[in-house]
């Protein structure tokens, strides 16, 4: 029966091409939509996930990264003096105006941190180094936004929040999901750029690294006992809260999620229709098989084998197509992510969709109509 399943697939090459196209289209559509969704969620919590911190101390009630609110630096010293804290650093993010060399103005999101601390630093440096930020009024930007920010190379001069500054390095692939790119600067400068009036002894976040021998949860409890008016999250918690906020509380995330679900529905419909049509093409043959004494079980196996072959071949092609699309997205406005878990999920989805679609037609196949097999 394996022979029949395979031969039937390849016998009518046009029909097979149509089937495969349907499956590949559906899978690629789903991959793109879910990849965008995943790219979006990952992007929203990117700075948190790469912070290398164990705990985040935030102003009480701050639910997500982009909402940072300053509080007194005294908390910072309280944290530092807590046993089990190996290291703590002030950290902030806030919006600022970026004036390009040609005078045009863009909005940017400034990240202030302590260069050399290893906490909250930009990653994936391709030019310059994080240490260069120790110089006064220097910034690091991502190469994705070269054009938008009007900078070409290290040494380019711009104005940010009415302060002159110099580009000292570029990262690769640190994306913002808003229209405001991230700009990295040392903590003190970031305050100047974003809110000149704010006192130097305040911070929006405190990033904490726990000592060896104490768990993040344990240290979290300890800090909660000692600090009032702030919330203390593990990095994973704060990341999740931020992603959740952008995903479900704002229209942006819901739009991406809806598109992903629609992609799934359309994809399933296309595959179901494609496989169903391919099965119906051979309905007379299945009737003949049944007349020959094949059991329903035998027919199921032929159908399932055929569906699995379609799924595997469609999946293989879809992966190739998706690979190129994912690669292209790395330079584009929105990243499409396809982790291995998604590749595996797609494989399972492809097989399940194809087999389910084939089984939908099984009623027609197993209820043999003698008139059909005897028709001339």
């Amino acid at each position: 029966m394996g022979l029949l399943a395979r031969r039937n697939l390849f016998h009518d090459k046009v029909r097979f091409a149509v089937t495969l196209t349907g499956i590949v289209f559906a899978l690629v559509l789903i991959i793109i939509q879910f990849g965008l969704f995943l790219g979006f969620t990952t992007t929203t919590s990117n700075n948190i996930d790469h912070s290398n911190a164990d705990l985040w101390v935030v102003f009480h009630g701050v639910g997500y990264f982009d909402m940072g609110r300053n509080f007194s630096e005294r908390k910072f010293y309280q944290v530092l003096s807590t046993p089990g804290v190996e290291r703590a650093e002030k950290y902030m993010q806030a919006f600022a105006r970026w004036k390009r060399p040609d005078g045009r103005v863009e909005n940017v999101q400034v990240i202030g941190f302590h260069p050399g601390s290893g906490l909250g630093e930009p990653w994936n440096m391709v030019q310059g180094s994080v240490a260069d930020l120790k110089q006064e009024d220097s910034v690091i930007v991502d190469e994705l936004y070269r054009e938008k920010l009007g900078v070409e190379r290290i040494g380019d001069r711009i104005e940010i929040g009415d302060h002159r500054a110099r580009v000292v390095g570029f990262t690769r692939g640190i994306r913002s999901f808003t229209t405001s790119p991230f700009i990295y600067a040392k903590f003190k400068n970031s305050l100047d750029y974003t809110n000149p009036e704010s006192s130097e002894d305040s911070t929006a976040y405190i990033l904490v690294k726990a000592s060896a021998g104490i768990t993040s949860q344990e240290l979290q409890r300890r800090l909660r006992e000692r600090l009032a008016d702030v919330d203390i999250y593990t990095t994973a918690e704060f990341s999740r809260k931020t992603r959740f906020y952008w995903m479900f509380t704002t229209g942006a995330g819901l739009a991406v999620l809806t598109a992903a679900l629609l992609g799934l529905v359309v994809g399933v419909a296309v595959v179901a229709q494609t496989i169903y049509a391919a099965t119906m093409d051979h309905i007379r043959e299945y009737g003949t098989l049944k007349a020959m004494g094949a059991t329903n079980r035998y027919l199921y196996r032929v159908l399932i084998e055929q569906a699995v072959w379609s799924a595997l071949l469609g999946y293989g092609l879809a992966m190739i197509v998706a690979h190129f699309i994912v690669q292209a997205s790395e330079k584009g406005g929105a990243i499409i992510l396809m982790p291995w878990s998604m590749s595996l999920g797609m494989l399972i989805l492809a097989v399940v969709m194809c087999v389910a679609a084939a089984l939908v037609s099984i009623n027609k196949v197993t209820r043999i109509d003698p008139a059909m097999v005897f028709r001339g």
């Binding site: 029966m1 029949l4 031969r7 016998h11 007349a291 020959m292 004494g293 043999i368 005897f374 001339g376």
Partner: protein
Amino acid sequence: MREINRASAIRAEGLSKIYREGATELRALQEVDLEVRAGELTLLMGPSGSGKTTLLSILGCILRASEGNLEILGEDVSALREKELPRIRREAIGFVFQGFNLFPALTAAENVALALDVRGVRGGDARQQGEELLAEVGLAEKARSFPADLSGGQKQRVAIARALAGNPPILLADEPTAALDWTSGRTVIELLQRLAREQGRAVVMVTHDPRVLSFGDRIIHLEDGRIVREEAGASKAIASLAFLEGLPGQGSIQAVGL
């Protein structure tokens, strides 16, 4: 010897079939009694819509009668559950169709092998039996041809080879020559006749074609779902008439066969 060959392969009693479509009922078969014997080519004739295909489907356990009893090789199949019918078809029955119903994606040999596969015969055994069956119908050299590359007559012979997979005692053919020219049709009928007479199978063939009458051992006429007439086939008629009346056989063919 003769007696064993002529044993009853199919025994049907009071078969009726009612097709229901919504409120309308169609009596396709009414109280059909029939015995099909091994070693004979039984022809089933009748106008279009008289119930020939319906009867053949019931005899072949593809379709269940609304009423009546059916015995296949001594087994009462009207009592069997739906799930057991495929076994009867695999073990007892081979079908030959007007439209051949070969699998276009498979070669002649693979078409036969598929029928063996359905019966659990695989690998080397399947290859050997497949070759033998194609040789039986005179198409050993076409084993690797696809149906599209065969003539109508060749296709039907491949289909007969396939029907012989599993060596079924009963062959049921629905107008197997209707799509063929007379030369090919004749080859097919001679083959079916040989399978009945020389191999002792019970062969039932539905036909419209009066030219094939002389090949049958029995001719059963169906009209409006009833058996209206049964006669002995030409060859037997010749023998019996010659025996009874002492006449030379040749002259009687006209009178009895046509």
